[in-house]
């Protein structure tokens, strides 16, 4: 599939663990990706609320993308785990030429609430294959103590 240019930033190779999960683009497999998100956030010592938020945000991103994915295609979800911060990028090959991630939905608003930063991504397709659409989000480990 067409690459959305992940990892995006220059400092990504220092002290960063990368985990990539690919599944069939099916809602029935999203629980597995949620479990990976929870696991990584817990190991990165996120506070329990931040873990819960990330798990829900990753679910939302994956569910949104699975909805527009081409039949029999794959969902790719990459986690960049840093000390106080996880960046997640999920992408699929879209089924329709004009497919895009809709940002005026309830789900997107929830995503914006849960994540510290979220963007919709799109790479145009070619004559043979459709566009690649994705969602990138950032989540910090939690609030500081009182």
């Amino acid at each position: 599939m067409s690459d959305l240019g992940f990892p995006p930033t220059a400092e990504t190779l220092d002290g960063v663990s990368t985990v990539e999960v690919r599944t069939s683009a099916s809602a029935a497999l999203i629980p597995t990706i949620r479990a990976v998100a929870s696991d990584l956030a817990a190991r990165a010592d996120f506070d329990l609320d931040a873990i819960s938020d990330l798990r829900m945000a990753v679910d939302e991103a994956c569910a949104t993308l699975v909805d527009v994915a081409a039949p029999k295609s794959m969902l790719r979800c990459t986690f960049l785990v840093q000390a106080e911060h996880i960046e997640v990028q999920a992408e699929v090959l879209a089924g329709q030429a004009d497919a895009a991630v809709s940002t005026d939905t309830f789900g997107w608003r929830v995503l914006q609430t849960l994540a510290d930063d979220v963007q919709a991504l799109r790479a145009p397709g070619t004559a043979e294959i459709g566009p690649t659409v994705g969602i990138r989000l950032h989540k910090h480990a939690g609030e500081p103590s009182r």
Binding site: L29, P31, D49, S52, A63, K72
Partner: protein, 147 residues
Amino acid sequence: MVEPPAIRSLRTGDLAAPAGPSLGKKPEALVLDSHPPLQTSIARLTGGAAVLAVVGEIDTLTAPPLEQALRELLDDTGADVLVIDLTGVTFLASSGLAALIQGAHRAADRNVTLRLVPGSRAVRRPLEVTGSDQLFDMYEDVHSAVG
């Protein structure tokens, strides 16, 4: 100690298989399906309360049965008090949240405030962080919710 209410009637909804994915796509037969069905049951207690108990993960595949169960709960016009017991829920996605919010609005149309027992952080947190907890009367446990 308060006598626990006896059940007068009970209906359960068990999905044999989760609802298919979005329009236009045939549900695929998967060898690995990490997605168990959502269990819902509605019980009418002798004290006058109706309790919808939900067990499982609520996401895009299982939000439709939740919506259905909420409709049934709201259809019980004879109940004094409507309670949603989510203590068995281990994950709540935005589609589940949307179903709950819609339920709260439908109830408000009839001047009823739904009582919600969130249980774990997985339910509590999304409700708090989106401010949706304001739409319900929240209770710590089912016993106090049925009141």
